[in-house]
């Protein structure tokens, strides 16, 4: 668990982060979102002490980070930045091996770990291990950047706009991959972005920041239903609200008994996807199939619309 307590950073009279406190549960993905200059990157960089806080403290599993030597702390926290900062003079395998080498792992263990990570990120070791960063596409560089950050099995991963340099199609794929890897490894992730869609797509919890202050820290649904103030409401996007709610809910929640014609919808799909399928195919209802493909009921346009209302 990460506890952020009254974290403040001032440069002269300019306050960049003001009295921010919140807690991040282990194994969750927290997104810090806000306009540029809101202080989100500085907040993130205070957690691995790339920026020293003016006041306040950060506890990781109850341990005050100020008591841990800087380098030791950073070896234990993965860090991914926009553009990734891969070392141009080192090949993919050596890039990924950076922190294990700093920690003095033996050669065999490093080689094993590198291979494991390349597999995890769907990069064929035979093809990619010896390539240099400039020979990779943007999406591949991004994966190597995240793999490098995860090399020494950090319990916490900090990501600063990790998808900012990718085009829309690759970005969506990279986001899904990150979610899958996070679920699989159980890593706690704190991710900074200015993209509200990304925040809703990825975040278990979302922290909204503006002008150095934390405005609201809540689950995505809570943020939609009860925005703390006008700024949060505007950032969330009033017109987008019902659709965002539907994106958060699964078909599971709207299954009703009965039969329907047409190609079945998976129970794990979001209601947003289900509604667009219904609209596109012109059906009023479609059957719902569980993971094994068995029909367990149906989902209807009316049933879905129920879930897009502010007061259920």
């Amino acid at each position: 668990m990460i506890e952020i307590e009254h974290l403040t950073k001032r440069y002269g009279t300019n306050t960049v982060v003001e009295d921010v406190s919140f807690e991040v549960e282990e194994g969750t993905l927290t997104v810090v979102v806000g306009t540029s200059g809101a202080g989100k990157s500085t907040l993130l960089r205070m957690i691995n002490r790339l920026v020293e806080p003016t006041s306040g403290r950060v506890l990781i599993d109850g341990e005050d980070t100020r008591r841990i030597p800087e380098d030791t702390l950073r070896h234990r926290i993965g860090y991914v930045i926009q553009g990734y900062g891969l070392f141009p003079h080192r090949n993919v395998a050596d890039n990924i091996a950076t922190v294990p080498r700093l920690l003095g792992w033996d050669r065999k263990r490093i080689a094993q770990r590198v291979e494991e990570l390349l597999d995890l990120f769907q990069l064929d070791p035979a093809e990619f291990a010896r390539k240099f960063p400039h020979e990779l596409s943007g999406g591949q560089q991004q994966r190597v950047g995240v793999a490098r950050a995860l090399a020494a099995r950090p319990a916490l991963l900090l990501m600063d706009e990790p998808f900012g340099a990718l085009d829309a199609v690759i970005r969506a794929k990279a986001q899904d991959d990150l979610l899958a890897i996070q679920r699989r490894l159980g890593t706690t992730i704190m991710l900074v972005t200015h993209d509200m869609n990304e925040a809703f797509h990825l975040g278990d919890r979302i922290a909204v920041m503006d002008q150095a202050r934390l405005l609201q820290y809540a689950s995505p649904a809570e943020l939609l239903m009860h925005p703390a103030d006008d700024f949060v409401e505007r950032l969330v996007g009033t017109a987008e609200r019902p659709f965002r709610l539907l994106s958060l809910a699964k078909v599971q929640e709207a299954v009703e008994p009965g039969a329907a014609e047409g190609e079945p919808i998976a129970v794990s799909d979001s209601l947003h996807d289900a509604l667009s399928r219904l609209m596109w195919t012109g059906h009023r209802a479609l059957p719902v199939a569980d993971a094994k493909g068995a029909i367990i009921g149906r989902v209807s346009v009316d049933g879905i619309l129920e879930h897009g209302r502010s007061l259920p």
């Binding site: 691995n48 790339l50 800087e70 380098d71 030791t72 702390l73 950073r74 070896h75 860090y79 930045i81 926009q82 553009g83 990734y84 900062g85 891969l86 070392f87 141009p88 003079h89 950076t98 922190v99 700093l102 240099f132 960063p133 400039h134 020979e135 490098r148 950050a149 900090l158």
Partner: protein, 250 residues
Amino acid sequence: MKLSSLIRLTALILLVAFIVMPHAFAFVFEPLTVNRAPAIYNQGSLLTLTLQHLRTVVLATLASTVIAVALGIFVTRPSGTEFLPLSRSLVNIGQTFPPIAVLAIAVPLVGFGEKPTFIALFLYGLLPIFENTLTGLTQVSPQTLEAARGMGMNDRQRLFQVELPLAFPLILAGIRLSVIISLGTATIGSTVAAKGLGEVIIAGLQSNNIAFVLQGGLVVALLAVLIHDGLGLIERLAARKLGRSLDEVS
């Protein structure tokens, strides 16, 4: 084999052959002599002179490299940035001061021989290496450095594992420049009794023997071209590893 490498190889073979057995080439230089003057330098072995010439150049460049790179590293650290303008002007003075003037000043202090030449070459060679080290170290992308810091590399690890390897091709280019300048400049060392190929040229000038002048000049020129080429090759290899063509680096 490409034509260019063929030419290089021929030049190398010619150079070595001429230095080792210059008398075999006497027929080339005889037409240039008058009054039956000797066609081939006869006051010492060309091989010894060449090796001594190279020794002075290598030692001086080595010293310039150590000092210039160390200085370049120092002024790019946070604690040394204040000294950047000062070291720049110092190194610049080394370059603007003519080597012949350095010799004139150095001889009364350290005497005749190789020492004053060494000092002149050392001072003259500082600037290219220093400036290239500076450029190399400052052009490392801030993202790369941020990532290095974020992964827990300390200052020393960042310098040796990230900054210097990335600056290496540029530093090498500076060294190459410095070696080439020194090879030519070292000939004037013979005016203060340093052993080197300048001796051949000066002997030729004194006895009005164009053959001598030409021999000394040709050996120095061929050495310069070949060394320039060889170092350029290493640079390209280093730069290719970084995924950049040499044109981008220099």
